[in-house]
């Protein structure tokens, strides 16, 4: 994540000062009234990309599902479209 400058790293890891990150101290997953996702749209887009690869889907459709997965993941964490665009530039 660091090598691609993934902005989600800041959310998971805070300032990066601890070995295992700040998730244990501050991540939503450990808040008292967290919203626990049981199944998500984001996960399904990843499933779609994997299924398209396995069934010989077109590169275009695979890429679309893959980027939709990342974009919806960003969105669910409160990141912006600009964050997504910058990140995609890094991983292309």
């Amino acid at each position: 994540m660091a090598s691609y400058n993934d902005p989600r790293l800041d959310i998971y890891d805070g300032d990066g000062s601890s070995l295992y990150g700040d998730l244990y101290d501050s991540h939503e997953f450990f808040t008292i009234d967290q919203a626990a996702s049981l199944v998500s749209y984001s996960e399904l887009q990843f499933v779609k990309a994997e299924s398209l690869i396995a069934t010989g889907g077109s590169q275009e459709n695979i890429k679309e599902a893959y980027f939709t997965w990342i974009k919806s993941s960003f969105s669910s964490l409160g990141l912006s479209e600009e964050d997504f665009d910058n990140y995609v530039l890094n991983i292309r």
Partner: protein, 256 residues
């Protein structure tokens, strides 16, 4: 013409130790009128005079009580009944919940090879459940979800469950959730047959269309309704974060 008298019942459901039970189902027998208790075990509902209320909760014996004028009611649940005896207002949701439980357990079973779904769902009388095989679990997930969809499709105008904590009684979202859960199951089975990936693609088109439709459960902020991982962290402060990470299933990643 005389109309039936109604009254509003505002009560609380607890276990036999007095601890509030969130999510207990309260039904007016013989009607589609029902609610679930909130995070503090409280509920309020309007019922007809002389109605009989049935209160149920997973792992506890159901109880019934007649509604009479100026009476106070005590819904203190005794433990000990089986899941199959519990009344749930929507058969579709009940079936989906079971399938979801299986699907979630299979995330773990990929690591430990076995899951104990069937006997573990039989309530607190079975303290050492025997494990099901992974294959038998997957065999049951798909029929359960199909059956859930049929029940949900038969429902028109919303589910008779005002206390639905996930989709507020929206049957169309529950149906999408059945497809989403099935997608997860299909992709887990992908290595067995490539046709499972094809089935996953077909099912995805009928599942969620945006983040807003995610299947999400919001925990409460009281001592008894807090999220389980929060409770773990609060109660086991002596355990370091590395253990939590391992439980959470997240691998340490390189920062270089």
């Amino acid at each position: 013409m005389a109309s039936a008298q109604t009254r509003t019942i505002t009560e609380n459901v607890t276990d036999d130790q007095g601890v509030p039970l969130p999510g207990a189902t309260i039904l007016e027998q013989g009607t589609a009128n029902g609610v679930t208790s909130d995070f503090d075990g409280n509920f309020s509902m309007e019922v007809a005079d002389g109605a009989t209320l049935e209160v149920s909760f997973v792992g506890y014996k159901s109880q019934t009580q007649s509604v009479e004028a100026d009476s106070k009611y005590s819904f203190q649940m005794a433990s000990g009944n089986l899941l199959e005896e519990v009344v749930v207002t929507s058969l579709g949701i009940k079936r989906e919940a079971k399938a979801l439980c299986y699907a979630v357990q299979n995330v773990t079973s990929e690591t430990i090879a076995k899951s104990n779904a069937t006997e573990a769902l039989n309530g607190i009388e079975v303290l050492q459940p025997v494990c099901d095989s992974q294959a038998s679990i997957y065999d049951e997930v798909h029929p359960l979800l199909n059956s859930a969809r049929q029940n949900l499709n038969q429902n028109d105008g919303g589910l008779p469950l005002s206390g639905d904590l996930i989709y507020s009684g929206d049957a169309s979202l529950w149906i999408k959730a059945t497809h989403a859960i099935e997608d997860r199951a299909y992709v887990h089975q992908g290595l067995l047959s490539n046709s499972n990936y094809t089935s996953a693609l077909s099912s995805i088109n009928q599942a969620f269309g945006s983040n807003e439709e995610d299947m999400t459960f919001k925990f409460g902020s009281s001592a008894t309704t807090a999220a389980p991982w929060y409770q773990f962290k609060r109660d086991r402060g002596d355990i370091g974060s590395s253990c939590v990470w391992r439980c959470f299933g997240v691998l340490q990643r390189s920062k270089t």
